[in-house]
């Protein structure tokens, strides 16, 4: 596939977003108007901009990354527009901003290279931790920035800009910085990590000293869980960390230990917290407490079932009956209006993106780039699995967004930052 094909596919995705908006307008009985053109324009500027930036600053990067992202963004936008035209209007601005971030990353790193990140790894960790702590700021006070509890989880930050308030979910950006830090840290410490291990009978276990960071991150994740009640972010960070440790060392013991710690933490959380218990209950049988805890999952299942094979058509289903349809449950909204066909298309797009990402990791000759690409790809794959698995009742529901599709500025910016880094990693391994 060539860069030109990428351009064509991106244009097709933009046209699809506009066509989807037109269908929603048509279904609502509105005349097809400015929204269609505006959507097309924003998509062309955003993805066309990234495409041009790739030509300019990362000409050798794989052209397989951008098209699936563009298509996912188009499908996601269409559902956000269908659910809330107002939020879709905001989402367009966020999309432009996020694309600008990707372009900026590509431009900035074209000179300095990814090795720059490696040098500033501790700074990135500090920023990531700071971002993660932001929601714990007091909810009211003299500061123009404060924490906010929404839906039982404290993972929002509100910027008071005087004329308007901006809601922000810092974990979405922290996760990218965290992965970049981990990749740098593990690339530097690899020798120490792989060299030392003890034998306990037939099992090789890592040197206890080497388990310290693992336990530290585990404790940090638990803190996030306790203080922010954010099951999703907590699980995502911890499992990504364990996976990267495994990737860097090849010691399956890290995965086993990570899995045990996650299970132990989960069990403890289940025993200690009502909200975790309710989620597990809603997962096991959403219809048992249909009116309350099971309502969201049950509505998601109704939406998917009603959508059936070919869906109701954009604008013709009732995904608005699902609570948080445009964020956590965007997959159910897509499934209702675009059917099983749409659901599978979305899963395939993610799979393509993952394949391209892991391809970059496997081809990279540099340890840091390999771990960075693998970590960034893994975090997207895991996040997708966690939230779609929650919607489909494969897993208990963890309230996180679906990458590239859910409504939300911080998520878009974080994931487009990730896209820029992956593209840069691809550029460096090929040139």
């Amino acid at each position: 596939m060539t860069r030109n094909t990428e351009g064509v596919l991106v244009a097709v995705a933009s046209a699809l977003a506009a066509f989807g908006v037109a269908l929603v307008e048509f279904a609502g009985g509105e005349s097809i108007g400015a929204q269609v053109g505006l959507t097309f324009l924003v998509f062309v500027i955003a993805f066309g901009g990234i495409h041009v930036s790739l030509r300019a600053w990362a000409p050798d990067a794989t052209p397989l990354l951008l098209p699936p992202v563009a298509l996912l963004a188009a499908i996601g936008f269409l559902e956000v527009y269908r659910l809330s035209p107002y939020r879709a209007g905001l989402q367009r601005w966020w999309l432009l901003l996020a694309a600008a971030v990707t372009c900026a990353v590509l431009a900035f790193l074209s000179r300095a290279g990814l090795s720059l990140l490696r040098r500033y790894r501790n700074t990135m960790l500090l920023v990531a931790v700071g971002l993660l702590l932001l929601p714990n700021l007091p909810s009211s006070g003299p500061l123009p920035i404060r924490g906010l509890t929404q839906g039982g989880s404290r993972l929002w930050v509100v910027f008071d800009l005087g004329f308007t308030e901006l809601h922000f979910q810092p974990a979405e950006i922290a996760k990218v910085l965290f992965v970049a830090f981990l990749a740098a840290y593990l690339a530097d410490r690899q020798a120490a990590l792989t060299g030392a291990h003890r034998k306990l009978g037939p099992i090789r276990i890592p040197e206890p000293r080497q388990l310290v960071p693992l336990i530290a991150v585990w404790a940090g994740s638990l803190l996030i869980l306790v203080y922010q009640r954010d099951l999703g972010a907590s699980l995502l960070l911890f499992l990504t960390f364990a996976a990267l440790l495994y990737a860097a060392t090849g010691a399956a013991g890290y995965l086993v230990a990570g899995g045990l710690l996650a299970a132990g933490g989960g069990l403890a959380a289940w025993r200690l917290f009502d909200h975790v218990q309710r989620r597990v209950q809603a997962w096991l049988d959403p219809f048992a407490d249909y009116a309350d805890t099971g309502y969201q999952v049950a509505q998601g299942l109704f939406a998917l079932g009603t959508g059936s094979l070919s869906g109701s058509g954009p604008g013709l289903g009732r995904p608005d009956l699902i609570p948080n349809a445009e964020t956590d449950f965007i997959f159910a909204a897509v499934g209702e209006e675009l059917g099983l066909a749409g659901s599978i298309a979305v899963l395939c797009c993610f799979a393509l993106f993952l394949a391209a990402g892991f391809g970059i990791a496997l081809r990279s000759r540099d340890r840091f780039r390999t771990l960075l690409a693998a970590g960034l790809t893994f975090v997207i794959g895991l996040q997708t699995f966690l939230i779609i698995g929650g919607v489909l009742r494969v897993l208990p529901l963890t309230g996180i967004t679906l990458p590239f599709m859910s409504y939300g500025g911080s998520a878009l910016i974080g994931n487009f930052l990730l896209l820029g880094l992956l593209a840069r990693a691809s550029q460096e391994e090929r040139s």
């Binding site: 990737a247 109701s312 058509g313």
Partner: protein
């Protein structure tokens, strides 16, 4: 390092495979369960307030139409100008309890397709007309009203067919209900109330409920006997006051006791005209279960009828009667386990009227678009050639004499030759189901009817079909022939 990354990638792709399986399970395998879950409001919401096509009767009366709301011209209210008279056939549409009757059976044609699926949009681009279709029924609003009034306050059903085509001219079940009650805001409460009503007003007795057909079933037995050559109208039978069922201590006696003829012998014609049970128990055993069953099935028994409304399958249990003459004797009188819908018995009369050819009954005459252009039209179809024209002619003669000199004289219409058969099926506790089936005019049949009343609730209130049901048939025949002039 690549090994572990490969394994991580594999693990993620396995997770995605699980997601693919789960989403397919939910959206393909379990889709209908979730879609039709009563707590899932989607389907009902999607249909509520949408425009639907009109339903009109054969004579042009509006039976159902969508009227735009005053405040919101994009929303519609469904109105049923003739209400309970057509409630079981036309049906109802409700966002809360769903659709019923033809409103449910033809929902795809009646709804506007300007707004539903991708395939509709493709069809629109190809220039297909997606506006709601309207339909013209075979039901005649005047005949339907006559039947509705004639049943009075009693539970019962009337079905009238055009024997030459199979067109259903009237189909009434009582008690009935007001279909608009199920469309409004109080639909759920009204639905519950209708469900709990001991009179079961939601039940369509014309097509959905099975009743013992009683002596009207003798028409089927006689047809089988004539067709098999077992007996003719002049064939003589013994005339005992009680017929001893073979292999049983039970006996069959005539209605009200007594003899059929003079006490020695009686011919089949007289036995039919006077509806003698002794003779027909004897005859049924002589003809045998296979031949009666064959005739019954040719007339529609034991068959899944292709009809837009749900139809209960009428029953003649051939297999269980083959080695049980005692039961066969009782079954020949339309008792025991023989069961039929009023529609089924109207089909029996129609087949005799139409020279033995049974036409496929149908309710929808044509579909037309909002400009009034016919989109499709139902062509009459032969369902079966149940009996030879000679058998039909002989039966017609026997049935005409039922009305002129037998049990069915109350079905007489001045100036019209009417043929028919009465029935008085036992309902226990001295009660009965009065029946009448028939057709007219004999020389040019235009209408075949079945009239059935449910038993009165009190004990010992048995009434004969000849006294209660036959006059209703006469009213229908008179009314229909008047509208034809």
């Amino acid at each position: 390092m690549n090994g572990p990354i490969r394994r991580l990638a594999t693990a993620l792709f396995l997770c995605f495979t699980v997601l693919l399986g789960a989403v397919t399970w939910i959206q393909a395998v379990r889709a209908d369960t979730y879609r039709s879950d009563p707590r899932n409001a989607r389907v009902a919401i999607a249909q509520a307030g949408k425009e639907r096509g009109m339903i009109v009767s054969a004579d042009g009366a509006v039976l159902a139409e969508s009227v735009p709301d005053e405040d919101d011209p994009r929303r519609f209210t469904r109105e049923y100008p003739l209400g309970p008279v057509f409630a079981h056939t036309v049906g109802y549409t409700s966002p809360i309890v769903g659709d019923g009757g033809l409103e449910a059976a033809y929902v795809d044609a009646l709804r506007s397709r300007r707004d539903l699926t991708l395939s509709d949009i493709v069809a629109a681009i190809l220039g297909r007309d997606l506006r709601p279709r309207s339909m013209r029924l075979t039901l005649d609003s005047r005949l339907q009203q006559i039947a509705y009034d004639a049943l009075g306050d009693r539970a019962g059903a009337v079905v009238a067919l055009d024997p030459r085509t199979g067109a259903v001219l009237a189909s009434v079940s009582k008690p009935s209900f007001e279909p608009t009650l199920l469309g409004g805001a109080d639909a759920a409460a009204n639905w519950d109330q209708l469900l709990q009503d001991p009179g079961r007003p939601l039940l369509d007795r014309a097509t959905r409920e099975l009743f013992p057909p009683g002596s009207t079933f003798k028409t089927v037995v006689a047809a089988a006997a004539l067709e098999a050559g077992v007996a003719g109208p002049d064939t003589l039978f013994d005339d005992p006051s009680e017929f001893q069922l073979p292999g049983s201590t039970a006996t069959i006696s005539n209605f009200g006791g007594g003899l059929c003829g003079n006490g020695s012998q009686v011919d089949l014609m007289r036995a039919f005209v006077r509806s003698c049970n002794t003779v027909f128990a004897d005859l049924a055993i002589q003809v045998g279960a296979p031949d009666i069953g064959f005739m019954a099935e040719a007339l529609g028994f034991n068959r899944d009828l292709d009809f837009p409304l749900p139809v209960a399958e009428s029953v003649f249990p051939t297999a269980e009667l083959e080695n049980d003459d005692a039961a066969l004797g009782q079954s020949g009188l339309g008792e025991r386990n023989v069961r039929a819908t009023p529609l089924q018995m109207a089909m029996v009369a129609a087949a005799v009227a139409n020279d033995g050819v049974l036409m496929q009954p149908y309710l929808v005459d044509e579909m037309f678009d909002p400009d009034g252009n016919t989109v499709s039209r139902t062509e009459p179809e032969v369902l079966s050639e149940a009996m030879s024209p000679e058998t039909a002619e002989t039966l017609t003669e026997m049935m005409e004499r039922v009305v002129t000199e037998g049990t069915g004289t109350a079905a007489t219409v001045p100036g019209v030759r009417v043929a028919g058969k009465t029935g008085t099926a036992e309902a226990g506790q001295g009660r009965s189901y009065p029946w009448f089936i028939g057709f007219a005019p004999v020389d040019d049949p235009q209408i075949a009817v079945a009239v059935m009343f449910e038993p009165l609730p009190a004990e010992g209130t048995s009434e004969t079909g000849g006294r209660v049901a036959a006059p209703v048939a006469a009213e229908l025949i008179r009314g229909w022939l008047e509208t034809r002039d």
